[in-house]
């Protein structure tokens, strides 16, 4: 089977609980369409816990399916701020957030 190209999904503006359903659908689609998914968070201006949960859930699904989900760049800006408040930087996914990929 030919290797599908990396799918990049970019989020811009707000990624909060209000957009949660939408984001979940986009992530699901990306996971179905490819083995390699890259999430671009650089355009985000507002993030909350719901978004972080969705990305973490997507990682879990990807791993379960033997796929790779990574960030196109280490977390910064609004995302990093929220990660810091959450304490996610010290958590088990720290490497993912700060280096953009899973171990």
């Amino acid at each position: 089977m030919a290797r599908a190209p990396t799918v990049v999904i970019g989020f811009t503006g707000a990624a909060t609980i209000r957009q949660a359903d939408d984001i979940a659908r986009q992530l699901k689609q990306a996971l179905e369409s490819s083995d390699r998914i890259e999430v671009d968070c650089s355009g985000l201006t507002e993030v909350d816990v719901a978004f972080i949960q969705l990305i973490l859930a997507a990682c879990k699904s990807a791993e379960a399916a033997g796929k790779v989900l990574s960030l196109s760049a280490p977390a910064g800006g609004a995302l990093l701020e929220i990660l810091t408040i959450c304490g996610a930087q010290d958590g088990s996914r720290a490497q993912f957030w700060l280096e953009g990929r899973t171990a």
Binding site: I17, A20, D21, I23, A24, L27, K28, L31, D48, V49, A50, I52, Q53, L54, L56, A57, A58, K60, S61, A64, I82, I85, C86, G87, A88, D90, G91, S92, R93
Partner: protein, 690 residues
């Protein structure tokens, strides 16, 4: 049996202990102001007094204590030095607190304010807010910085309902140092996820000086259906494994298993050549030791229980009855011929004697608690008298019956005061005599058989036998020119109406003499020996029985009656042969190993009119230096017995210290040996005179 315990009384009893502890600690601080542990102990004691005082409605005491506590908080934080002045005020404040708690109505008005003004002067801030009983509640104490371990998980629908975990986390961070870590274990697969559900959980530590309630306030609006656990952790460096187990992240068993598979840190370090095996062994030993200490402390904390003294007395009384009943049972069994009954009686005998020993043991208290109380006395009095005196103690762990210890307090205070006032000289005089300026009073306690010896030794001027003699002659206590040995002369001090102090001070010499001490010690069935070397000091030795409740005695028979002679006084028993008896008539002296020993015929003394028996025995007893024989008809054997005091009607009977009930239900009187001898000698000389 009264079982209702007044909580206020319980508080008072606890407070009393705290005050004692506080006093000791303050005195220790005076000696070593730099000891941080002592400061902490004092602070904690004050804190507890304040806290429980408020709880039991002692608002005035609590409010007053609050200010003293604050002062020690400053000391603790290094903002105030533990000067002698501070200790002085704190001691006075402690006395005042005690009054406020023991007898609030007796507290002198204005005393609180005066002490607080003094305290404020030392702290160096303006006058402290005045305190009156109307002051409802002291401001809440600044809570100590505490570290909490937090774990929380919001309800699944919390975010959908508008809650924002980020805000909660921010609020937690505002409370103090907060390290929170996301717990992502709850995150499901994307496909199974409700995008607006809350799956993350957080755990971590919060170190804050805010009260626990502040944490609850943070979660106030989301508390429904959420998981929240808050526990206090001791802020100490823990090993990873311990933390994992504490957080229930891994079971202790699993951890042990994992650790077993992993080479020990020590072994790893040794292998790498970073540290020697010995060093590791030493470190491991230290670790083990510290762990043991911690466990010990925990054990000691758990092993205490507070019991009313009256209940112990009741128990002792009942055990006494049991011992008597058991003796009667034994007599009954011995009279019969039933081997089963006999073996059962032996069993009961063993049990009841063990029970008696255990009960006695409960009543035993180390004498250290008593000695501790004298430190303040010596400190304050030597200051008042302008002397420099150190009190040293030894044998604090020696145990004595609680009642004996309580009744020893006053006589000991008197003896120590005497040593301070008459014994130890003023510093200048000491220096001119080539002694160190600082005098010493040493208190010691030591077991000696069934007795305890308590010695009060000073290195002062000693007692001048010539002066004592002159004074005794002047007071008509002895005829002029009477021949007396030195110990006999010293014993004169104990006579009523004797005082060598030319000057009356507030400390002693107020006419309440050593005779009071002697009477108190006599009542405890004890004796006082005085030894002194002029110029280099004196020693008072108190000999006391371990307990007042039980006596080891020798059971004897005189005519029909039976008597108990305290075994501690008995030296030996000899037979009074018919020949001796005849020869001795009129002189009543016995020759024992070339030593003449006078003897008393108890039969004559007690006016027993039965026929003389052929084989009389002499029990040689000693009191101090005198040995006296007591002639009895039969020696039955040694007998441990519970003392029953005589009724008020018999309180004038001096020759017996009590009575006991024998196995057959009859009563035996317990002979008070020194008094009996005095009585015997008096009646002998009367006989001779007539």
């Amino acid at each position: 049996m009264s079982t209702a315990i007044d909580p206020v009384e319980t508080f008072r009893a606890e407070a009393r202990e705290l005050f004692e502890q506080l006093e000791t600690t303050l005195l220790d601080i005076e000696a070593d102001p730099s000891d941080k542990d002592l400061i902490d102990t004092a602070f904690r004691a004050l804190h507890t007094i304040k806290g429980s005082g408020a709880m039991f409605g002692f608002d005035a005491a609590s409010a007053f204590t609050h200010h003293v506590e604050n002062a020690f908080d400053l000391v603790r934080k290094g903002k105030l030095a533990a000067t002698k002045e501070l200790v002085e005020v704190a001691l006075a404040a402690k006395d005042h607190m005690r009054v406020l708690i023991e007898q609030p109505e007796a507290a002198p008005p204005g005393r609180s304010e005066a002490l607080l003004a003094q305290l404020a002067g030392i702290i160096g801030i303006g006058p402290v807010v005045s305190v009156s009983s109307n002051d409802a509640h002291p401001p809440e104490p600044p809570p100590e910085r505490t570290t909490y371990r937090l774990h929380f998980r919001l309800a699944r629908n919390a975010m959908a309902m508008g809650a924002n975990p980020l805000l909660l986390l921010k609020e937690l961070r505002e409370l103090g140092d907060c390290t929170m870590v996301t717990d992502t274990d709850g995150i499901p697969m994307l496909e199974e996820m409700d995008p607006s559900g809350c799956y993350l959980a957080w755990d971590g530590l919060l170190s804050t000086d805010q009260p626990r309630s502040a944490i609850d306030d943070v979660f106030m609006f989301v508390i429904d259906d959420m998981e929240l656990s808050v526990e206090v952790v001791e802020p100490e460096a823990k090993r990873l494994g311990e933390i994992l187990v504490e957080r229930h992240a891994v079971s202790a068993d699993a951890l042990d298993k994992a650790l077993d598979q992993q080479p020990r840190l020590g072994a790893m370090l040794v292998k790498e050549g970073l540290v020697s095996t010995d060093k590791v062994a030493a470190a491991l030993a230290e670790q083990k030791h510290l762990k043991g200490e911690v466990e010990k402390v925990a054990k000691a904390d758990a092993a205490d229980i507070r019991v009313q003294a009256s209940r112990l007395d009741e128990l002792m009384d009942q055990v006494g009855e049991l011992v008597i009943a058991q003796a009667r049972l034994r007599q009954l069994a011995n009279a019969g011929n039933d081997p089963h009954l006999k073996s059962l009686v032996e069993e009961i005998e063993r049990l009841s004697s063990e029970l008696r020993d255990t009960t006695m043991g409960i009543r035993m208290v180390p004498i250290g608690s008593l000695f501790g109380r004298f430190r303040r006395l010596v400190r304050d009095l030597s200051k008042e008298l302008g002397k420099e005196i150190a009190l040293t103690t030894s044998g604090e762990e020696t145990e004595l019956d609680k009642t004996v210890i309580e009744r020893l307090h006053d006589p000991l205070v008197h003896l120590i005061r005497n040593s301070l006032d008459h014994g130890v000289e003023a510093p200048d005089i000491r220096e001119s005599k080539g002694k160190p300026r600082q005098g010493t009073i040493h208190l010691s306690a030591i077991h000696s058989g069934a007795q305890v010896l308590i010695k009060i030794t000073d290195d002062g001027a000693g007692i001048d036998p010539v002066r004592v003699r002159a004074k005794a002659e002047e007071n008509g206590l002895i005829p002029p020119g009477a021949e007396l040995s030195e110990p006999e002369i010293f014993q004169l001090i104990l006579q009523p109406g004797f005082s060598t102090a030319a000057k009356v001070t507030s400390v002693s010499g107020r006419g309440v003499g050593m005779d009071v001490v002697k009477r108190a010690i006599d009542q405890l069935r004890g004796t006082i020996d005085i030894d002194s070397t002029l110029g280099s000091g004196s020693t008072m030795t108190l000999r006391l029985p371990l307990t007042l409740a039980i006596i080891d005695g020798l059971l004897v028979r005189v005519g029909e009656g039976r008597y108990v002679i305290p075994l501690s006084a008995v030296e030996e028993c000899v037979e009074l042969s018919a020949e001796d008896d005849r020869r001795a008539s009129g002189r009543d002296f016995l020759n024992i190993r070339d030593e003449t020993v006078p003897f008393l015929r108890l039969k004559a003394l007690f006016n027993v009119v039965t026929d003389p028996e052929p084989y009389q025995k002499v029990v040689i007893v000693s009191t101090g230096d005198a040995r006296v024989g007591l002639v009895v008809d039969q020696i039955i054997g040694d007998y441990q017995t519970v003392i029953k005091s005589l009724s008020k009607i018999h309180s004038t009977v001096q020759t017996f210290s009590g009575a006991t009930i024998l196995g057959d239900g009859t009563v035996a009187l317990i002979i008070d040996v020194p008094r009996l001898i005095d009585f015997g000698q008096a009646s002998e000389s009367q006989k001779k005179a007539s």
